[in-house]
C-alpha cells in the first residue's frame, strides 16, 4: 500500500503578514512588540556598537557607549587564566582539534564517524591533557593551578564528561541489578549526588575529599574540583543511560544470549552499544548543563571564564565596566551552548529516523 505524503501548505508573504493582524488582540500584540523593538533596539545598538570604543589602550579612550577595550586587554585572562603567554598556542591547537573532531563526529556524511567519536572521547582527552601540561619533548611544564579562563571550563567539563559516561553506565547497570545490595548501593549513590546542590559538591571536593585521601596522595584544588564534578556528573549520566537501557527491548539481550553469547559479551556487544546510542540526546543535554555549571568553580576560588571576569571588574583601573564583561561572557557561553544544543537536536532527529526505519 503506497501512501502519499501530506500536502505542503505554502503561504504567501501577504498571508503570513495577515496573521500578525488577524484579531484585535494579535494586532495589539504586534504593535506593542514593534514598539518595544523600536525603543530598545536603537538604544542597544548605540551602546554596543555606534557609541562604543573598540580601539585604544586605556580607560580615557572610552566614551558613553560600551568600553570593549577592557575585554580586549583582559582577553588573555578570560581565555587562558594564568597560562603563560608564550605557551598559549597549546590551548589554541587543542581547541582547533576539538572543533575538528566534533565536526567529524557530528557530520552525518562522514564514513568514519565511529572512529571520529572514539578519537574524540578516548584519544583526544588524554592527548590534550598531556599536551596542555607539557613536560616532554622540550615542552615546558605548565602546572594545572595556572590553568584558567575558558580553557578551565573546557578542561573541567571534558574530564567530567569523559570519565562519567563509563562510570554512569556501571552505576545504571548496578541500579538495575538483580542483587538487592548492589541495586540499593547504586541507587543510594546516585540519589545522594542528585539531591545535593553543585555548590555543596564543590565544597565537598575541596574540604572533605582531601580528608578522605590516604597519606602521600595530595591533589591540588584543580584535581579535587575535577573529581567532585566527575562524581556529580556520573550520577546524572547514570540516570540518562538508565533511560537508554530501559528503552531497549528486553528481546535484544535475550536474543544475544540465545545466540550463545556469554552474558558479558551480550552486554558489551549488543546491549550497551544500543543503549548508549539511545541515551545520546540525554547525555548531550547533561554535558551542556555541566559545561554551564563549571562556571560555579568561581565560588571555590578557581578562575574560570566567569571567575577571571569577576577579578577583572574589580581592577581599580577598569571599575564600572561589569556590564560589558557580563555581556561578553554571556555571549561566549551562549554561542558554545547554542552550537551544542543544535548538534544535539540534529542528532536526536537522526536517531529518531534510524529507529523508525
Amino acid at each position: 500500500m503506497t501512501s502519499l505524503p501530506p500536502p505542503v501548505l505554502r503561504r504567501s508573504l501577504a498571508q503570513r503578514l495577515r496573521v500578525l493582524f488577524a484579531t484585535p488582540m494579535n494586532a495589539a500584540i504586534t504593535l506593542a512588540m514593534i514598539g518595544l523593538a523600536a525603543w530598545l533596539g536603537p538604544k542597544l545598538f548605540v551602546w554596543a556598537v555606534s557609541d562604543a570604543t573598540f580601539l585604544g589602550s586605556d580607560r580615557k579612550a572610552c566614551g558613553d557607549g560600551a568600553c570593549w577595550i577592557f575585554i580586549r586587554i583582559r582577553m588573555h585572562d578570560l581565555m587562558y587564566g594564568s597560562y603563560p603567554t608564550p605557551e598559549t598556542y597549546r590551548p589554541d591547537l587543542c581547541a582547533l582539534a576539538l572543533v575538528a573532531l566534533i565536526g567529524a563526529a557530528a557530520w552525518p556524511g562522514n564514513p568514519r564517524r565511529t572512529e571520529g567519536l572514539v578519537a574524540l572521547l578516548l584519544v583526544y582527552p588524554l592527548a590534550a591533557l598531556l599536551f596542555l601540561r607539557g613536560g616532554f619533548a622540550g615542552l615546558p611544564v605548565v602546572e594545572t593551578r595556572l590553568w584558567g579562563g575558558l580553557l578551565l571550563n573546557f578542561v573541567l567539563s571534558f574530564i567530567a564528561i569523559v570519565v562519567s559516561v563509563p562510570l554512569g553506565l556501571l552505576l545504571a547497570e548496578g541500579r538495575r541489578s538483580s542483587q538487592p545490595e548492589i541495586a540499593a548501593f547504586c541507587t543510594g549513590f546516585i540519589e545522594i549526588w542528585r539531591a545535593a546542590p553543585i555548590v555543596t559538591i564543590l565544597f565537598f571536593g575541596i574540604v572533605i575529599l582531601p580528608l578522605m585521601l590516604p597519606r602521600g596522595i595530595d591533589f591540588n584544588k584543580f584535581g579535587c574540583v575535577a573529581i567532585a564534578l566527575t562524581l556529580f556528573s556520573s550520577a546524572y549520566m547514570a540516570e540518562a543511560i538508565r533511560g537508554g537501557l530501559q528503552a531497549l527491548p528486553a528481546g535484544q539481550h535475550e536474543a544475544a544470549l540465545s545466540l550463545s553469547l556469554k552474558p558479558w559479551q551480550a552486554r558489551l556487544l549488543v546491549v550497551w552499544p544500543q543503549a548508549l546510542r539511545l541515551s545520546i540526546p540525554a547525555i548531550v543535554t547533561n554535558a551542556i548543563d555541566l559545561f554551564k555549571d563549571t562556571s560555579l568553580v568561581t565560588i571555590v576560588g578557581l578562575f574560570d571564564l566567569l571567575g577571571s571576569l569577576q577579578q577583572a571588574i574589580k581592577d581599580p583601573q577598569w571599575l564600572g565596566l561589569a556590564a560589558e564583561g557580563y555581556v561578553f561572557v554571556a555571549g561566549v557561553f551562549l554561542a558554545i551552548c547554542s552550537v551544542l544544543s543544535f548538534l544535539a537536536r540534529r542528532l536526536e532527529r537522526e536517531l529518531a529516523v534510524d529507529r523508525h526505519r
Binding site: 503570513r16 496573521v19 500578525l20 488577524a22 494579535n26 500584540i29 504586534t30 512588540m33 514593534i34 538495575r176 541489578s177 538483580s178 542483587q179 545490595e181 548492589i182 548501593f185 540519589e191 545522594i192 542528585r194 539531591a195 545535593a196 546542590p197 553543585i198 555548590v199 555543596t200 565544597f203 565537598f204 574540604v207 572533605i208 582531601p210 580528608l211 578522605m212 585521601l213 590516604p214 597519606r215 530501559q246 527491548p249 528486553a250 528481546g251 539481550h253 535475550e254 552474558p263 554551564k292 555549571d293 562556571s295 560555579l296 568561581t298 565560588i299 566567569l306 569577576q310 561589569a322 556590564a323 557580563y326 561572557v329 554571556a330 557561553f333 551562549l334 551552548c337 547554542s338 544544543s341
Partner: protein
C-alpha cells in the same frame, strides 16, 4: 510485544548461576564495600587527628559570635551555631519560595506566549528563553546583582507602586505587618513573612490550572489565614506600617535586601526559561482534537488554553515542574556568591571557617538537601499515583 514476556520481570536482569556463585558475589561485594568504608574512615580519622580536630557536634551549642545581615527570624551573635544554621535554612526556604511562586507565574505566561499564534511574540519569547537557558545561572545572578540593581535610582527617586512599595538601589521596601510586641515579641518578622507568602501563594494558586477541588481548598485555606490576620489587625494585635522616606533612606516597613532581590530574580528567571519550554511541550502533547473541539464549541484561543489544554497538560507537566522547583531550592546555594546568607553560606561558610568542623557542617547541609529532596519526591509519587495514572490520558 503485546503478550507478556515470560522471562522479562520489570526489565531487570535475571540472577544467573547457582546459589553458591550468588553468595560468593554478595560476599565479594560486601568485602569491597567494608574495605572501602574502613579505609575512608581510617583516613578521615588520621587526617583529622593530624589537624588536631575531632568529630563532634558540640560546637552547635556554642555562641556563634557573628552577625547575619539578612535574617527572617530573630538572631543575635550571642545565639548558638544551631540558631545560625536555622536562620540559614529559613533564608534558603524564603528565597526558594519567592522564586518558585515567581517562576511559576512567569514560566506559565512565557509558555503561553511561546504558543501564541502571533509569530513575532512566539519567536521573541523563544529567543529570550534560549538566552536564559544557554547562559550560566551564576552569571545571570551576578548580572542582576552588579549591573541591574546598581542601575536603580537612589532612595529619593525610588520607583514606587501606589506609594506603598518602593524599589531603589538599596533594595525593595514593602509594607510591614507588625505584631504587638507585648503580645508576640519573637514572631514579629515571621508573621510578616507568613502574611506576604500567603498573599503570593493565593495569587499563584489562582493562576495555576489546578483541578477545581484543589483550588478551592488552597484558596479557602489562604483566605482563612488572611482573615485571621485581618481579625488580629482589627483587634489591635497587628498593624500595617508602610515605608516612608526620611532623609536619604526609608524608615518603617520591611527592607528586602538587594542580595535577596537579586537571588530571587536570578533564580526565578532561570527556572521560568525552563518552565516555559515544559509548558509548551506539555500543551503540544495534548491530542489535537481537544483544541479543535474546544474551538468548535466557540471558546477563544486563550480560554481553550486555560480551560481545555492546560488542565490536561498538567498531568505531564507536574513531575518535571516539581524537579524544577527542587532545582530552585538547590540553586539557592548560589547566594553564596553575592553574600546572601543561605544555609551554605552560614553553615559551610562562616561556621566552617570559625570552627573547622568540615565533616559535621557538610553533613548538616547534605542532610537538609537530601531530606527536602526525599520528602518532595515522596509527595510527587503520591500525586502521580492519584492523578496521573487514574486519568489515563
Amino acid at each position: 510485544m503485546a503478550a507478556a514476556h515470560p522471562i522479562a520481570l520489570e526489565g531487570r536482569s535475571q540472577p544467573r548461576g547457582g546459589r553458591a556463585r550468588r553468595l560468593a558475589q554478595q560476599g565479594a561485594f560486601y568485602a569491597v564495600l567494608i574495605a572501602l568504608g574502613a579505609s575512608l574512615l581510617y583516613n578521615i580519622d588520621r587526617n583529622l587527628a593530624e589537624r588536631g580536630l575531632s568529630l563532634s557536634f558540640d560546637f552547635l551549642a556554642r555562641p556563634a559570635g557573628f552577625e547575619i545581615a539578612i535574617k527572617a527570624i530573630d538572631f543575635s551573635p550571642r545565639d548558638t551555631y544551631a540558631a545560625a544554621a536555622l536562620v540559614g535554612i529559613v533564608n534558603t526556604l524564603l528565597v526558594s519560595a519567592l522564586a518558585i511562586v515567581t517562576a511559576t507565574i512567569v514560566g506559565f505566561t512565557a509558555g503561553a506566549m511561546l504558543l501564541s499564534s502571533n509569530p513575532i511574540l512566539a519567536r521573541s519569547t523563544q529567543a529570550f528563553t534560549e538566552l536564559i537557558r544557554n547562559t550560566p545561572q551564576l552569571l545571570q545572578i551576578l548580572f542582576v546583582y552588579t549591573v541591574i540593581l546598581r542601575a536603580l535610582p537612589s532612595a529619593r527617586e525610588s520607583l514606587s507602586l501606589g506609594g506603598a512599595v518602593f524599589l531603589n538601589v538599596r533594595g525593595l521596601f514593602i509594607p510591614a505587618i507588625l505584631t504587638d510586641p507585648a503580645a508576640m515579641p519573637r514572631f514579629g518578622i515571621a508573621a510578616n513573612e507568613a502574611a506576604w507568602l500567603c498573599l503570593a501563594g493565593l495569587i499563584a494558586s489562582l493562576f495555576l490550572p489546578l483541578s477545581r477541588r484543589w483550588k478551592t481548598w488552597l484558596a479557602g485555606g489562604l483566605l482563612a489565614v488572611l482573615a485571621g490576620l485581618l481579625a488580629a489587625m482589627l483587634g489591635g494585635a497587628l498593624k500595617i506600617e508602610t515605608p516612608v522616606l526620611r532623609g536619604f533612606n526609608f524608615r518603617g516597613g520591611v527592607q528586602v535586601a538587594p542580595e535577596l532581590v537579586a537571588l530571587w530574580i536570578g533564580l526565578a528567571v532561570y527556572a521560568s526559561g525552563f518552565i516555559a519550554d515544559m509548558v509548551r511541550g506539555a500543551v503540544l502533547a495534548v491530542p489535537k482534537g481537544q483544541g479543535e473541539a474546544a474551538a468548535a464549541l466557540g471558546l477563544s484561543p486563550f480560554l481553550t488554553l486555560r480551560l481545555v489544554k492546560l488542565p490536561q497538560a498538567l498531568r505531564i507537566l507536574v513531575p518535571p515542574l516539581v524537579s524544577q522547583y527542587l532545582n530552585i531550592l538547590k540553586s539557592s546555594t548560589l547566594g553564596l556568591a553575592i553574600a546572601y546568607p543561605e544555609i551554605m553560606a552560614v553553615v559551610a561558610g562562616t561556621t566552617l571557617n570559625q570552627t573547622g568542623h568540615a565533616i559535621e557542617t557538610m553533613l548538616i547541609v547534605m542532610l537538609f538537601f537530601i531530606g527536602t529532596n526525599l520528602t518532595i519526591s515522596y509527595l510527587i509519587n503520591v500525586y502521580n499515583r492519584r492523578v496521573v495514572l487514574r486519568g489515563g490520558l
